[in-house]
């Protein structure tokens, strides 16, 4: 094994250890303290009671997944928004736009839309939505982006899911990409 490999592995282990230490020292005491408060006990009792009823159980499940979604959204939207804002202020966004506009014109999109497509394909639709909010687009362009992204998005995660059922990753990505690009080009001509 290459020495650098060993190094990176032990680095990873160290990072995990540090994370664990931080959790044990800072987050766990706060959590335990919070669990002894009257508010937590009340909420816990309410949830336990609600679990027994079918209707309230569904509401609790929906609320929990709603909160999880909000947390997940924050984790993606805020970093992406800050990176795009910095790129914009450093006028790198213009550079990217000029670089990609010759290719993107076949899809009827401005050059910046390349960022939207890349973010949507690598991370997920929410990251793409964040980028869309920063770019001036007509409704035709938004529809083209929507169709293209709906065919191919979050490729890493969804290809991994598809692979679990036995499909080959190459076929999945190929199908989705070709559908996205063809539909983009055709929509640009038709709309």
């Amino acid at each position: 094994m290459h020495p650098s490999c060993v190094n990176s592995k032990s680095d990873n282990k160290n990072k995990k250890q540090i994370k664990k230490n931080l959790y044990n020292k800072i987050i766990q005491p706060i959590e335990e303290k919070f669990k002894t408060t009257e508010l937590y006990k009340k909420a816990d009792r309410l949830i336990q009671k609600g679990r027994k009823n079918r209707v309230t159980n569904t509401l609790i499940n929906g609320g929990a997944s709603g909160l999880k979604t909000l947390w997940m959204l924050g984790k993606i939207v805020i970093p992406v928004q800050f990176i795009i804002t910095i790129l914009d202020h450093a006028s790198i966004l213009n550079l990217i736009s000029n670089l990609f506009s010759p290719v993107m014109q076949y899809l009827g999109l401005p050059g910046e839309a390349a960022i939207v497509l890349v973010l949507g394909n690598t991370i997920n639709l929410f990251a793409a939505m964040t980028a869309i909010a920063n770019i001036a687009l007509t409704s035709k362009q938004i529809t083209i982006i929507a169709v293209m992204l709906s065919f191919s998005h979050s490729l890493f995660m969804e290809t991994a899911v598809a692979k679990k059922t036995g499909l080959s990753a190459v076929i999945v990505v190929l199908i989705r990409f070709t559908l996205a690009i063809i539909s983009g080009i055709v929509l640009n001509l038709v709309l």
């Binding site: 509401l59 924050g74 939207v77 939505m129 982006i145 929507a146 169709v147 969804e158 598809a162």
Partner: protein, 156 residues
Amino acid sequence: MDINLIIKEGFFNSIDTIKTIAIVVIPLMFAMEILKELKILDIISNIFKPVMKFLGLSKESSFPLLVGLTLGLAYGAGVIIKSAKDGGLSKRDLYLLMIFLVTCHSVIEDTLIFVSIGANGWLLLGIRIPLAVILTIIVSKQMKIQTNQNSNSRLN
């Protein structure tokens, strides 16, 4: 570069984006929970059973297909793997179902998210679902031809 401006802009734009997405997604979460709890998909999948033949699929695949279409790819794949293990789905069904679902899944959520920023939702659905159907039919026809050729060569 004005750092204050960047922080302000980044923060407020993030909140705006989170708001537009959350308004669509969180009510949908509740709707999905109700869908799961009342087992509405079981009822609808019975209606869709005859249509499955058109796609070259068996009747049993209507439930996993609907789950994938409404609740998402991960959920659909889970149901598909489970019913393949139970013996409800053949290998051919599994392959075709995944080809369909990989191009067309969680249609409600995706469509509503894009509609919220001004895309044409009907056009989006009207392109996505028919293209996925056509693709599945082509692949299923191709698979039939291949299996026929295999059996013919065996006979010869």
